[in-house]
Amino acid sequence: MHGIPRKAPTQEERDGSSIKAAKLRDLQSQLLHFHYNKIYTKEAIEISAQLLESNPEHYTGWNYRKLAVQHLLDRHQENEVDSELPQSVLDEELRLVENALKRNFKAYGAWHHRKWVLSKGHSSPDRELRLLGKLQKLDSRNFHAWNYRRFITELKKIPDEDELQYTTDMIYDNFSNYSAWHNRSMLLSKLLEKRAKGYDKTENVLSEEFEFVRNALFTDPDDQSGWFYHLWLLGQTLKREPLVISSSPPHGSNLSLSIDNPDCQPSFSKIYHQSKERTFPLILYFSEAVVGVSSSTVTVEFDYDGGDGLIWHPLSANKLGFSQAWLAYIKYPHDSLESCHVKVTVAQFPGIISSSGMPCSQSCFISFTASVCSNNQEHSKVQTTHKISWNEENFKAHSTHPEDANLLASLCKLNITKENMPTTPMLCIETISNEIACSRELLSSSNCKIGKLILARLLVAHNTLMTYGCMDSITEAHYEEILALYHDLMKMDHAHIGYYEDEYSLVVMKQLTSNTESLLKLCGNYEELSLPSISSYTCVRLKGLSLSRVSCMEHLLWVQMLDLSHNKLRSIEGLEALQLLSCLKLSKNRFSSFTALEPLKMLKSLQVLDVSYNEIGAHSIDTRRYMCSSPLNSTTGSEWQLKRFAEEDADMKHFWDAYLLFKDLNLVQLDIVGNAVVDERLKAFLVKLMSALKWFDGESCH
């Protein structure tokens, strides 16, 4: 029941209601009787009409009508008399639907019945359009009517251009009509796709649309009708080809490989990598999620071995195979080797495609050198038997060494030359710049939420267009203005503060990482003072920044140790790209379940994890339950089935989310204290599950 006032009915009303109820009950039981006994007499059909006019939701009643119509038409065909009959029968049905809709405009059964009658081929689309014209005037937002309109226009093959004009008229009539804006976005995107006549200059169309929606937005800034249309337009404007924006190892770097630990003091001048499996990870990071990265779209050449047959894996849990980061393992050469060149070419093949369907057509070239030093000392055990303390005095900042700035810059930069830098269509930048100017002006007279949000989004879009993912490529990047806008929004629209905090975090991450100077301030080396120098890591500290989300992983691919503690993180999607990450600190955040940590499963080198003092187990509703692989959404598959009947069943079922997270991690050190979920049973379960674990909540185990 909707919109009926709550009040005790008067005796009169009660009597009236029970008379109506008795009448309706009688009609309903008669209908069921006729339906059951297949009685299609004139009287029976008349009773069903009475019923449906007073209760249009009675679906069995509509089913009965269809059977009755079918019966009458069949009989007519057999007897071949009274050629007017089919038309009059179907007209009667159309009349009944109209009456039923008068009672309840939203009765699904009535609308479907009309479609069914039409499928018998006896009404004219013009008559239907006239009816719709009438109904849509009465309720311009009724989605049944809009659906029916799309059904009829398709049936009548009315051109999209005409229907676009219809939405223009509707919006001019009253711009507060989300249904019309919605239909406009559907029609326009079809037309843009077809590039039909007059639509070949996409940007032109887009800037006209921007103006159209801007007028609506600022006329009544509280009316949401145009809000989502604006965001969609912005997305259309930013649509572009995906391209490689960074890699690991980075272009121009020296990679020092060893089977054990390197002997020398690491610094940014060289990257060290050790692996018992004699492989190192090669990562390509794209501007957006793509599919199609394979040995036929990416060529890898190196001196000591043929590079073909590399297998590329998407570094993402995305089930559709789309990923921004792609990983392949390259084998070490067998012998010691002084500088061997590795060349990676992402060729101009069709084949790498973004999720919006754009192909990657810019070729990209990355080269680095690898050298192998053999090392006979057995060091590999040392680091794993000592605890990482994360103590402040163990960090050595790099900003004090001026030469490091250059080295870091080379670490983060990709070799994008003028030639292979994709050109951003000028018109596109002009459109956005113009919108920025207009929004600023309109905001100066009306201090509205949507105006601020739109300006912030336009500025972010402008940055994206200007930088294309490269570091240090723009000097003036509006960050302070964007952050100030989000600050205002948090204050003026407190109910949606969570949304603005997330957007704010993305901008902060970008501001911090896309500029060498600011990134340098965050990074350094970590060395356990009590340990030999070999346990040194290149470390980035992003703690206490109020981050609720992470992003910009393309600038951090080389990080081995990452401190994200004392933030507001709830999820860590994207972190899976950091394949060199060994130590991760996530303490004092807002993670509320093990399922929220799922991206960690892909970090094969992760050894030290601190998730202490979060909210794991503190909530009755798990918001990540359906975003991760779980037995609830049939994505764990046979793996779970197999284990189902194993001995340790009870614990495994109880801690299924912890089990699915930790079973594939090779953790040496885990801190989990300060979460509601922690008890002796969980501890015992985890210690048993992870055989490599040495330190659990600061204490030695195994």
């Binding site: 006032p5 029970s18 069995t60 089913n63 949401q224 969609w232 949304y499 975003m627 609830l632 079922k653």
Partner: protein, 313 residues
């Protein structure tokens, strides 16, 4: 405002069964099985399912089953997916799905899948993504998803995705919170949430919250307690529920209670009904209101019922 008047709501739910004579209940007779699901799930979330004698409910449900395997909304009514799901859900509440001829029910549902992956609600061919959700949810609860072409079912749902990130009932149809719940729920159950643009849809959904704290179902519409379920469960499944003010929503729902006679209405001071009572209580459960059983956002059943089926059975 104040707090949830649990005892009153329990009394209200139980009393509905007894007043079958007023017009409102006669109009609803054809969907009594939906009503049973709303009422019984509410009782379970309130911790009082045992107030109902399942030996009365279960045989009645089985009498609603048609020879095709599908269930009608009441005895004598035609079978339809809408009521088949309710039947399965109520039986799941009582842990009684074993009274079903599972093969037969699953075949009925599977027979309604069309060539393009969509589902009809019954033999008369109305197509709607609501029916996609119902088919997928029902078969998952029966652990018979293998009966249908899941890939095509997902493909069809994705074809109903709009440029605002939401979903409509057929391709091209406007986004609507109820429809979004169905599509997001079906994608969640099939592990296909990667098809959802979570930030885009999340913003649309979180903007359903209006000044009073209540949620509406489409832009520029009035808030309504039933959207506390459709919007909220969708936001939870895509992990964006922190984008709304939960406290304000709790207060809106509590404001819609009839504190004298029990029951919850669409808006403050409107007439209560079992439908909105269920959505109000389920919404409060999703908001982690103290003392309520947790409800699962995708299967719309208490978490313990769902876990029992998928984790321990």
């Amino acid at each position: 405002m104040g707090e949830l008047v649990v005892e009153k709501h329990i009394k209200y739910i139980i009393s509905i069964e007894k007043k079958k004579d007023d017009f409102a209940s006669v109009v609803m007779e054809h969907l009594r099985l939906n009503g049973a699901y709303w009422g019984l799930t509410t009782l379970d979330v309130l911790g009082k399912l045992d107030a109902v004698d399942q030996d009365e409910v279960v045989p009645w449900i089985m009498q609603c089953q048609h020879e095709s395997g599908g269930f009608g909304g009441n005895i004598g009514h035609d079978p339809h997916l809408l009521y088949t799901l309710s039947a399965i859900q109520v039986l799941a509440l009582f842990d009684k799905t074993d009274v079903l001829d599972i093969e037969k029910v699953a075949n009925y549902i599977a027979s309604l899948q069309n060539e393009d992956g969509s589902f009809s609600g019954d033999i008369w061919g109305e197509i709607d993504t609501r029916f996609s959700y119902i088919a997928i949810c029902s078969l998952a609860l029966l652990q018979r998803l293998d009966k249908i072409n899941v890939e095509k079912a997902v493909e069809y749902i994705v074809s109903c995705k709009n440029l605002d990130g939401g979903f409509g009932c057929t391709p091209g149809a406007e986004s609507h919170a109820g429809q979004i719940f169905c599509c997001v729920g079906a994608l969640a159950i099939t592990g296909s949430l990667d098809h959802v643009d979570k930030d885009l849809l999340g913003w649309w959904l979180c903007e359903r919250q209006v000044k009073s704290g209540g949620l509406n179902g489409r832009p520029e519409k009035l808030p309504d307690v039933c959207y506390s379920w459709w919007v909220l469960s969708s936001l939870i499944m895509i992990d964006r529920v922190h984008w709304i003010d939960k406290k304000k929503l709790v207060n809106f729902i509590l404001d819609c209670q009839d504190k004298e006679n029990g029951g919850i209405s669409d808006r403050p001071d409107d007439a209560v009904d079992v439908f909105h009572t269920y959505f109000g209580v389920a919404g409060l459960s999703l908001l982690e209101y103290p003392g309520l059983k947790a409800i699962d956002p995708a299967y719309a059943l208490p978490v313990d019922v769902v876990n029992k089926i998928f984790l321990t059975k």
